[in-house]
């Protein structure tokens, strides 16, 4: 009995060890990816703030009106949902997708039409399988996200908004709070609201060339692009952070398992030796008698 058991235990230790190597490697990769994504998320801040300030300034102009700020009764909503491309990141994907689904159901109960732009393979899979109107699908774009990639999506959204395909746009993604916590959050991005709250009132109204409306509309794609880019980068950093801590606890669990199994293995080995000794000495006793 002891020998077979020892073999099994040895095999399990080996398999747990190789799993641990994988989780450890994934943890390290996630850590470095997270760091890079965080740097990008920080770098985009001044860009976006300047842009938003300029938009606030324009909105103060007395003659200013724009379809992008008009307050209308919302009937058709586009939800941009950002999740990860891969699993093994703890509750990262589930949390954000659940929040998005709840929000979509809530909007539908209020009688609004909801269409979904899914960014990230997990978001695409989740909403395609269920009863949602998924109008756009983007997989595997988060890691190599460039400004141009975000710009393509942003220009598309802006054009469709202007055509009246939808009258509000919400963004749902996971924000990076700290390396240990990432929270799903939602944000209404179109029509543009709360513009004046940021504006500074120091200057006289500048000259807008050719007109405040046109300058503002020209900024809209950049505004959306900045938001999307930072949301995608933020979400990517969160995904890596979630994966890092998931893999860290997986490695810890593997360590614990290896410890328990080693104990079991040593006990079995000791038991076998003891048994062999007993057998030898009892055999000698038998011979002597």
């Amino acid at each position: 009995m002891a020998t077979a058991n020892m073999k099994d235990v040895k095999r399990r230790i080996k398999s747990v060890e190789s799993t641990k190597q994988i989780t450890k490697a994934m943890q390290l990769v996630a850590t470095s990816k997270m760091r890079r994504a965080k740097e990008r998320a920080v770098a985009v801040q001044p860009f976006f703030e300047t842009l938003f300030n300029a938009m606030c300034d324009i909105s103060k102009d007395s003659s200013f009106t724009s379809v992008f700020t008009a307050k209308v009764e919302k009937k058709k909503t586009l939800m941009i949902v950002i999740a990860g491309d891969r699993g093994l990141a703890g509750g990262f994907n589930v949390n954000v997708l659940k929040k998005a689904a709840a929000k979509a159901d809530d909007l539908r109960q209020k009688g609004r039409a909801v269409s979904i732009m899914a960014i990230g393979k997990k978001a695409v899979e989740y909403f395609s399988k269920r009863d949602y109107d998924v109008t756009d699908k983007f997989s595997e774009i988060a890691e190599g996200m460039s400004m141009y990639g975000a710009m393509d999506i942003a220009e598309d959204v802006a054009a469709r908004f202007k055509n009246g395909e939808f009258d509000s746009v919400d963004l749902i993604y996971t924000t990076f709070v700290s390396a240990m916590t990432q929270e799903p959050c939602e944000m209404a991005i179109l029509p543009v609201e709360n513009l004046t709250s940021w504006a500074d009132t120091r200057h006289a109204s500048p000259v807008y060339d050719p007109s405040p409306e046109e300058v503002f509309e020209g900024m809209i794609p950049s505004y959306l692009c900045g938001l999307l880019y930072s949301a995608i980068v933020d979400s990517f950093a969160s995904e890596q952070a979630a994966r890092r801590s998931a893999m860290e606890s997986a490695s810890d669990n593997a360590d614990e398992m290896i410890e328990n199994l080693s104990l079991m293995y040593n006990r079995a080995r000791q038991a076998q030796i003891t048994q062999e000794l007993t057998e030898i000495s009892s055999a000698t006793l038998n011979d002597n008698s």
């Binding site: 770098a43 141009y148 220009e155 598309d156 500048p206 807008y208 900024m219």
Partner: protein, 133 residues
């Protein structure tokens, strides 16, 4: 000429933060030259070569869209991308020019075509700026 403060911000970094005496950029309505004491002014910029005075000479950079805001104390340019002539990756710009041209030839949809056209403009702008350095 009196210098003024200029800040050029891209999503990746602050590209330029210092003083200059002259700036020539192309807006949606045409070229504008900015000197010290310009009236407060805001306009959208198109992908084009932009000239900035640096240490007495006009240095050229490839600008990819954005906007300019002239305020009394400083001029701010916000753009998606900008490179000095000697920073441009010519091979990459050439590749993206070919790619854009192919996509335009295929003409799959108007949306696709418009995107390719913009990409082509950016690539040509970069190539043009790079060739003049």
């Amino acid at each position: 000429m009196t210098p003024f403060n200029l800040k050029i911000i891209t999503p990746e970094k602050t590209f330029f933060n210092g003083t200059t005496t002259q700036l020539i950029a192309k807006t949606t309505t045409g070229n504008v030259g900015i000197l010290h004491g310009h009236v407060p002014y805001v306009a959208n910029l198109v992908s084009s070569p932009m000239k900035i005075e640096v240490q007495g000479t006009l240095k050229e950079a490839a600008l990819s869209g954005g906007f300019i805001k002239v305020a009394p104390e400083e001029v701010i340019i916000v753009t998606n991308a900008i490179e000095w002539a000697d920073e441009i990756d010519v091979a990459r710009a050439e590749r993206s020019r070919q790619n854009a041209e192919e996509r335009m030839k295929r003409h799959e949809s108007q949306k696709e075509f418009d995107r390719a056209e913009k990409k082509l403009k950016r690539a040509l702008n970069r190539l043009m700026v790079a060739s003049k350095k």
